[in-house]
């Protein structure tokens, strides 16, 4: 789902769209550009009243360009979404669904499926619509949606039961209950979203639009009344200013003063904000959610998968008194040979790494594996060494201790203290026994993801508090929390506690983001200000959140927050730039208008002193300002689309940085730009 910033096709389509968007019914939604277009129209009419001078024609052309450039920026931003929508639409081809009623299969067009229908999909079938797997397990290729070519497992029950229409089953057979009516599927919504068809202005965008419209009215008044003041002054000086204070010139002044730069780029910024999320494989259901992401100050993060690698790993063997470490390792390895859990495999690997054990002791016979059950809460192996039959077990301390006691054995204080030590350090102690004797403890460690600590430090600098959610006991949780560097943790948490925590934080004025995938996460996802559902999650979770991460990577929450902040920052920076530009434009146009006012004997009057840029002539000064004003929109399109660079600094440092670049830059840049254009115009003999 990646594409270069300016694809040729997109540029072509955007150029056409820019003209289509001149429709006043579209343009009225953007008051700043609407006023600009009215100005362009008036100037054009003025040409036909016998004022078609080279200067006036050029002004009219550049005013039209100003509007077109603004439309163009919006069209490009939309175009990138449209291109994505097209590729998505191609996957939404009609397919025949194998429809099941009372166990009898019949064929039905996928577009005729309704909520609650049950369909069957086998190897090679395209899943006809969004739904929930109600029977079976299958591997599914979701590349059409996620762009990820590795297939994923979908199974009934649990948290991986949701399937998406348009994806393809590549092995096995599943029964699916359809959860959406046609036209309302995940894919449909995605298409709408990336196309911007349902785009609504976000709250902050509305507020900013009001501000821009207000500034526009103020400047409209300032320019309109300037005409009267100019008439008075001309009269008072006994001069005729009517050949310079003309309609096109006043309109030029107005267009230069009203915030056309931000007004023209505002919607492009908003669209590209969502677009950037899509590039990161995150689908936001509304622009509002993206904006809220920038405001997040509390992140609830699940420990497993986000903070730690999904699996605990064996890192140490701690033998009981009188037992060698190698013996413990050997027995632990034997007990885990058939244990396919990641923990079991990590024990085998550790034993191999440490003592080159391969689990192939020569005199071992008749191995029979005892799987883990919820009742015994242990797993292990029964085997014969020589003639003796041996029972090896591994499990939580309580279970193994109880088991050993029933065999007449007992645990030593050393083992107990080793168990405590491991638990306090945030690990999981697994105790290994042989018959009635406890051999020692395996240290299973939660491995904190590399770089996550630095990530949390960055978040802290951004003023965001991280809260780790885990089912672990408080002791273990505290240890991992300390290692990962989170600000707070919730141990032994339940979905209800999670929901309550979100409500509490919100009552305290915080904005909360979280990720989740299970059905029991759904209420919390709905309650959170930003709820990111994993694409692998249940349909309920995906419906409840306001974003879906197609990669199902919980760490991405951090990038989502950054994207939201970047969006707001880009808006603020370009607004500041736009407003700061006005100073230079005054210094270009006002002296041009009134250079000869109160001149004692022809030539220049006192206000020519204000021509600090030394612009060649009044006409060239005005035209330069108008051209600069139009070109700056084009020049800033890449910035609007990419967003301004985000660094995780504190607010104060960020502000200083952006103020220098966009505030100070906004003051200085037009002085240079206008002067350059003025020189070019003069060289080209255009004025």
């Amino acid at each position: 789902m990646n594409q270069s910033l300016f694809d040729r096709k997109i540029l072509q389509r955007a150029s056409v769209d820019a003209c289509v968007k001149l429709d006043p019914r579209t343009l009225i939604k953007n008051p700043v550009m609407f006023i600009t277009m009215v100005g362009a129209l008036l100037t054009t009419f003025y040409l036909f009243t016998g004022h078609a001078t080279g200067f006036n024609i050029q002004i009219a052309i550049w005013l039209w360009f100003t509007v077109l450039f603004a439309n163009f920026s919006e069209a490009i931003a939309e175009g990138r979404g449209k291109a994505q929508a097209d590729s998505l639409r191609r996957t939404r081809t009609q397919s025949m669904a194998r429809f099941i009623v009372n166990g009898v299969e019949s064929r039905k067009n996928s577009s005729d499926l309704r909520k609650g229908d049950v369909v069957v999909c086998e190897t090679g079938d395209t899943i006809p619509g969004d739904g929930e797997v109600i029977e079976g397990v299958a591997t599914v290729d979701e590349a059409a949606i996620t762009g990820e070519s590795a297939p994923v497992v979908r199974e009934s029950g649990g948290d991986r039961s949701a399937v998406t229409g348009g994806t393809k089953v590549i092995s096995d057979r599943i029964l699916i209950r359809i959860t959406n009516d046609p036209g309302n599927s995940f894919l449909d919504r995605m298409i709408h979203l990336v196309e911007g068809a349902k785009r609504q202005k976000t709250p902050n965008e509305i507020a900013l639009s009001i501000l821009l419209a207000g500034l526009t009215i103020i400047f409209l008044l300032a320019v309109a009344t300037l005409k009267f003041f100019a008439d008075y002054s001309g009269h008072a000086a006994g001069q005729d200013l009517s050949d310079i204070v003309t309609v096109p010139v006043l309109i030029s002044l107005l267009v230069c003063l009203i915030p056309t730069t931000i007004g023209g780029l505002l919607s492009a910024i908003g669209i590209s904000g969502m677009d950037r999320l899509i590039q990161k494989n995150v689908i936001a259901t509304s622009g509002r959610a993206v904006e809220a992401a920038g405001d997040i100050d509390v992140l609830l993060l699940d420990k497993t998968g986000t903070i730690t690698l999904g699996n605990r790993m064996a890192t140490e063997f701690i033998p009981a008194p009188g037992v060698s470490e190698k013996e413990l390792a050997e027995k632990a390895q034997l007990s885990s040979m058939s244990d396919e859990t990641p923990e079991g495999r990590s024990i085998v690997v550790l034993a191999k790494d440490k003592f080159q054990l391969r689990g192939e002791a020569a005199d071992v016979k008749d191995m029979s594996f005892i799987p883990f059950t919820a009742q015994t809460r242990m797993s292990g192996v029964d085997l014969r060494v020589g003639n003796a039959s041996v029972q090896i077990r591994k499990g939580a301390f309580d279970s193994v201790d109880k088991w050993v006691q029933t065999l007449g054995g007992n645990s030593s204080p050393e083992v107990r203290s080793a168990v405590d030590r491991v638990a306090k350090a945030g690990g999981t102690p697994l105790v290994v026994s042989q018959d009635a004797k406890i051999l020692g403890v395996i240290y299973l460690k939660d491995i904190v993801k590399g770089g996550i600590r630095e990530r949390f430090a960055e978040l802290r600098k951004m003023g965001i508090k991280t809260v780790m959610i885990t089912g672990d006991n408080p002791l273990t949780a505290a240890a991992i929390a300390a290692e990962a560097g989170v600000d707070d943790f919730m141990a032994e948490s339940t979905p209800e506690m999670k929901l309550q925590r979100i409500r509490d934080e919100q009552a305290g004025g915080h904005l909360v983001a979280m990720t989740g995938d299970g059905t029991n996460d759904a209420p919390a996802l709905a309650q959170a200000d930003v709820g990111v559902a994993m694409n692998t999650g249940t349909q309920a979770a995906r419906e409840a959140g306001n974003m879906v991460d197609l990669d199902s990577n919980p760490t991405k929450l951090i990038e989502i927050v950054e994207t939201g902040k970047q969006l707001l920052m880009t808006r603020g920076a370009l607004t500041t730039f736009s407003v700061a530009n006005d100073v230079a434009k005054y210094f270009a146009i006002l002296p041009a208008l009134f250079a000869t006012l109160y001149a004692t004997s022809g030539g220049n009057g006192p206000l020519a002193t204000l021509n600090v840029m030394g612009l060649a002539s009044p006409h060239s000064a005005i035209l330069s300002a108008v051209i600069f004003n139009a070109l700056v929109i084009v020049a800033l399109i890449p910035l609007a689309l990419k967003g301004i660079a985000y660094r995780s600094l504190g607010a104060a440092a960020l502000l200083r940085r952006n103020l220098v670049i966009y505030g100070l830059g906004g003051l200085v840049a037009p002085f240079i730009g206008i002067k350059l254009i003025d020189m070019l115009l003069k060289m080209g003999g255009l004025v």
């Binding site: 507020a207 009344t225 965001i464 508090k465 009552a507 700061a580 204000l610």
Partner: protein, 562 residues
């Protein structure tokens, strides 16, 4: 400037710095009902409470508060208007003045109720003592008290969370008048009377001058009115010459007292705001922003006045200034009053150098927020603070917040409305007057100076300042009516949006600040705020200023005056 000039400037600013913070704390106590210096006046408040009944006790939402403001001021305008029209039939009119024309009465009524105190009349020739005292002096108190009430309501709105109400208008206004304005005015009036300001009910005696001419000497209860005129950022003089008149301002000491009284309360209430929103730093930040703008304007004006003037071939322009006060005191006064929305003058602003006159004009154009009108300066400044927070706050990557309250569409809408209405009224009013015969016929000067006169009149009305550039004959039906409209828009076009903002913010929840929050109480914010004020407030009027004071300055440099 000699060292006494420097000393006077320094002393005036120092008094402001030293006195304003404790004054703010005192005012805070008054409004929240804590024990304070004048708590012993409580029985009087109880009398008012008893008289007003329940309406003076129940908390009000912003609409009720606005309605109370509207009602109170409408009654005020009507009362002052009628009292003038009936003055010939009323007592305490020893000179037997006839009723002013309806348009002048209307203009004066609106002017005093809106805390503008624009005077299209000449006090000693038009109004009797009863009108001066019962209509004008009373409104001097009440209009100032209303300004404070609105500012306090806004502070409450920011400080409260999840609340529907922003206080009680009647209670606020009674407390502001009773505990703050009355005691301080009485104190100042007594001291001023001691310095020689007149205070009597005599009819005007006639004196024979050395040249054997007959001269009528105006009299009246001036000291009491002048005290509140200065303290309440009113500025409406008892006499036409205002504080340039020796009976209103007899000595350098009285001049200094009157000067520091101009900014004392508007500066103090900034600290009251800080205390109310539980952030003294915020109070200081706003104060320092105002102080910096004041100092900058003062410096430029002094520079302009003391610079060599090729038109008269000397450095000090004394024409139109009181010899008793000299240039420094005149410039201090013009800067302080134009900053403070106080319409009083001790020199004719028309006689200032173009740049110093322009600074006075510019101070008012910014919206009277450099300390500004009592209360109104503060809430006007908060509008700019909110706008700054909105513009710059986005740059830290969060939706903007001010003191824990999110700034959203509704607030921005109201901020824009409050900035737009007065600006629109001023620009349209001045633009029309500059081309219509009815406007032009009142001009006494030609060229850019004439434009400055017109501009100044409408800017002064829209900013509720009230000072005049002089030279403009404002007592015509055209000016009386249009200026009254501009004054109303300049006052209530800001008050109602401000109260709406207060109500909106009060209802919001509070988001605690974090390191990611945009801070509004440091030096960087002061710089930002000044930038936004200059660009947004200033650029609106820059074209008009160019054709008035700026062009006049350049012309003066080439030896041409108007």
């Amino acid at each position: 400037m000699n060292r006494f000039d420097v000393l006077q400037v320094f002393l005036s600013l120092a008094v402001l710095l030293v006195c304003a913070p404790p004054l703010g704390t005192f005012m805070y106590k008054v409004y929240v009902g804590e024990r304070h210096l004048f708590s012993w006046l409580r029985p009087l408040e109880l009398v008012c409470e008893k008289f007003l009944g329940r309406i003076a006790q129940d908390e009000m939402n912003w609409k009720e508060y606005s309605l109370a403001v509207l009602f109170f001021n409408a009654i005020g305008i009507l009362f002052v208007f009628l009292l003038q029209l009936l003055q010939a039939k009323l007592p305490l009119n020893p000179q037997g003045f006839a009723a002013p024309t309806w348009d002048l009465s209307l203009n004066t009524a609106v002017s005093f109720v809106t805390n503008t105190n624009w005077q299209a009349y000449s006090g000693e020739n038009t109004l009797g003592y009863l009108v001066q005292m019962l209509a004008l002096a009373v409104q001097n108190f009440l209009s100032a008290a209303v300004g404070m009430s609105v500012a306090i309501a806004l502070a409450r709105g920011i400080a409260r969370k999840n609340s529907q109400t922003i206080g009680n208008f009647w209670q606020d206004t009674v407390r502001g008048t009773l505990y703050i304005l009355l005691p301080l005015s009485i104190l100042l009036a007594v001291v001023l009377a001691g310095t020689g300001v007149v205070q009597n009910f005599s009819s005007y005696p006639t004196a024979q001058t050395l040249e054997s001419a007959q001269q009528v000497i105006p009299m009246g209860p001036a000291a009491s009115q002048i005290a509140i005129k200065q303290l309440g950022t009113n500025g409406g003089g008892f006499f036409n010459a205002n504080s340039a008149h020796p009976f209103e301002n007899p000595s350098p000491f009285s001049n200094w007292l009157e000067l520091i009284s101009i900014l004392l309360l508007p500066a103090g209430i900034v600290f009251t705001f800080g205390e109310m929103v539980k952030s003294r730093r915020q109070g200081w930040t706003i104060f320092l922003t105002m102080f910096a703008l004041l100092a900058a304007g003062l410096s430029i004006s002094l520079w302009a006045e003391y610079s060599f003037n090729p038109a008269i071939g000397s450095a000090a322009m004394m024409e139109g200034k009181e010899l008793r006060f000299g240039i420094t005191n005149s410039v201090l006064w013009s800067t302080f009053t134009s900053a403070a929305s106080n319409g009083s003058v001790n020199a004719m602003h028309s006689s200032l150098s173009p740049i110093a006159g322009g600074i006075a004009l510019f101070n008012i154009m910014l919206g009277e927020i450099i300390f500004g009108g009592l209360g109104s300066g503060l809430y006007g400044m908060i509008l700019f603070v909110i706008m700054t927070v909105f513009l710059a706050g986005l740059m830290v990557g969060r939706t903007p917040e001010y003191l824990g309250k999110k700034i959203e569409a509704r607030e921005i809408q109201m901020v824009i409305l409050a900035i737009l209405l007065p600006s629109a009224a001023i620009l349209i009013g001045a633009g029309a007057a500059a081309v219509l015969p009815a406007g032009l016929s009142s001009l006494s000067s030609k060229g850019p100076h004439g434009l400055s006169e017109i501009l100044y009149a409408y800017v002064s009305a829209g900013g509720n300042n009230g000072s005049a550039f002089a030279g403009l004959n404002a007592n015509t039906v055209y000016y009386n009516v249009t200026l009254a409209v501009v004054m109303l828009l300049g006052r209530f076009g800001v008050i109602f949006p401000v109260l709406a903002i207060a109500g909106n913010l009060a209802a919001k929840k509070y988001s605690p600040p974090s390191i990611g929050t945009f801070t509004t109480d440091n030096a960087l914010f002061v710089v930002l705020l000044i930038g936004v004020i200059i660009i947004v407030g200033g650029l609106t009027f820059f074209p008009a200023l160019t054709l008035g004071p700026i062009v006049e300055h350049f012309l003066m440099l080439s030896g041409k005056v108007f």
